[in-house]
Amino acid sequence: MSICAAVGVGYEVGDATLLHGVDLAVAAGDFLGIIGPNGAGKTTLLEVLAGELAPTNGLVEIDGCDIGEITLRELSLRRAVLPQHHLLQFAFRCLDVVMMGRYPHEGSEAEARAVADRVMIETDTAHLADRLYPTLSGGEQTRVSLGRVLAQSTPLLLLDEPTGSLDLRHQELVMGTLRDLAETGVAVVAVLHDINLAARFANRIMIMDRGSVRAIGSPDDVLRPEVLGPVYGIDVTVVRHPEIDRPLILPIGDDGRAG
């Protein structure tokens, strides 16, 4: 059974249709990468799946229940959300921030601490534990926030650009951690800007454009020039990654110098 499903989901604000007829099912162990150009509706979809926005059409289900029927409290045990922007401006220590992710579990301080210590190693933030969150760099803040989300220990993760402002090494680390989590049965849904990162780590890719799903399937099925070209409005070529069995997407320059 799918952990999270969208059935004919639409979302409209005023005259604008941000989502249109989105169907989606995510099962335990899935690592779904959502890609698409700016304004495609990726973040809106994530907010609808998180239960933050009520769809104006269709239905979102978590574990087979209409998400609108699930209390905030119950929802916080079933899914965790990493927003794209991190707003905390008060000087909490990073360890405190990560431990906040344990709030829904109502466990002991010691248990929260143990979980926090573990996820801070997974996100390579253990050395930041005593640092004050607002003093971190953007990439460090993203990793600490991801640590808070992982500390929530939910079967479903909804992540908006978990690799945003991360350096190359930490992109690999975070994506590897997410893939490992998926292999243990967590369902991961991540909006990703880097197509090649999505191609390498996600086992399913969804391509969105103007509020609709253009393609969904394995990286090899959907990451094809004839699909990506029209969506992004540029010509691309797809080659094999020289080291691993995944597609590698390269833009073709049209200015006569590159390409």
Binding site: A50, E52, L72, R73, E74, L75, S76, L77, R79, A80, V81, P83, H86, L87, L88, Q89, F90, A91, F92, R93, D96, V97, M100, G101, Y103, P104, P134, R148, Q152
Partner: protein, 344 residues
């Protein structure tokens, strides 16, 4: 900066509170030494210490200074804890009850209630009017400052300024319309003073303050999560809207009651939580109770200064806190601008 340990923080605050209470009881026009203070206090709870004191000293201490100091503790605790709570729930370190218009709304409410019901400063009409006025102002500022589910810093401060101006103008208008006998009460609420403290007034104020001081810390963890962002708090299972109503309601009632008893005393709710955050970090489990004690210390201390610095005159305490608080607020504004790259 390394934060102070919780034990060290509360121990120093408790010590400071005992010290300023002692100071508040011993200082004044009638000389009462520390031994006499002790003798009179113990005498009233039925313990004969054999310390010699006059009946004047007894009357001054028991009927004037003690209720005044106790009211100072209550008012300061209310302003401190409410300031910390407003700043948390609005995610804005500048949300002081005075600045966001709640104090002047409460002051106007108290003035109206006192004038309409023909009562005097210190009557039961005060707290009712104060709380109603505070809630009205709070709701007005809140509705004005909300935009698409967010409370904007600039709009909050500006809406607060506008509501505060309307409140002050209302009180000023009433002061023009009022006869001489009632003019005093208008000024009293605008400037702030602990001079009318009585046991009755204390008992009227205390329940609202006690409720806030006890109940607000129960929302501490939720307030911490709200600081992450309202969406993030909701993701973690916090009903932000309900928490907001609860926190704003408790804090406003405490501020309203304190304004009704002692007028609008500014900047305590801004300075104290800010100081505590620097010493112990922003976590509300420590911040809320520590701000209550810190507020009490500061108000009792300011009152001692207010009534002794220009003897035989008494300086309104609100004037004193504004003189110190104004510059500190400007400093905070400047810092906020530097850190966030704008006034937003």
């Amino acid at each position: 900066m390394r934060h102070l340990s919780i034990t060290a923080l509360f121990a120093s605050l408790a010590l400071a509170l005992v010290a300023v209470i002692g100071l508040g009881l011993a200082m004044g026009a009638v000389e009462i030494g520390p031994p006499q203070v002790l003798g009179i206090l113990l005498g009233h709870i039925g313990i004969d210490t054999g310390i010699d004191y006059s009946s004047t000293q007894d009357a001054v201490l028991w009927s004037i200074r003690l209720p005044r100091v106790a009211l100072g503790v209550a008012v300061g605790a209310a302003l401190g804890v409410a300031g910390a709570a407003f700043q948390g729930i609005f995610r804005n370190p500048l949300a002081d009850p005075h600045l966001i218009g709640i104090s002047s709304g409460a002051a106007l409410g108290s003035v109206v209630a006192v004038l309409l019901l023909g009562g005097l400063v210190g009557s039961v009409a005060g707290p009712i009017g104060g709380i109603t006025g505070g809630l009205g102002a709070g709701m007005a500022v809140y509705v004005l400052a909300r935009h698409e589910g967010r409370t904007e810093v600039v709009t909050l401060v500006l809406a607060g300024l506008a509501v505060a101006a309307i409140g002050s103008a209302g009180a000023a208008f009433l002061s023009v319309a009022a006869d001489d006998a009632r003019l005093g009460s208008v000024l009293f609420y605008s400037l702030g003073s602990l001079s009318v403290a009585t046991w009755d007034l204390l008992w009227m104020t205390l329940p609202f303050v006690a409720l806030a001081v006890i109940a607000l810390p129960l929302t501490a963890r939720r307030l911490d999560l709200v600081l992450l962002g309202e969406r993030e708090a909701a993701h973690l299972g916090v009903d932000v809207e309900r928490t907001r109503i609860l926190v704003v309601g408790l804090a406003t009632a405490a501020v309203g009651a304190s304004v009704a008893a002692a007028g609008a005393i500014g900047f305590i709710g801004l300075l104290v939580p800010h100081g505590v955050r620097l010493l112990a970090g922003p976590g509300h489990r420590v911040l809320l109770p520590a701000s209550a004690i810190g507020g009490a210390v500061l108000v009792v201390l300011a009152d001692v200064v207010a009534r002794t610095v220009a003897l035989p005159l008494e300086v309104p305490i609100g004037l004193l806190t504004a003189m110190v608080g104004g510059p500190v607020f400007l400093m905070l504004l400047g810092r906020t601008r530097r850190e966030h790259g704008g006034w937003g």
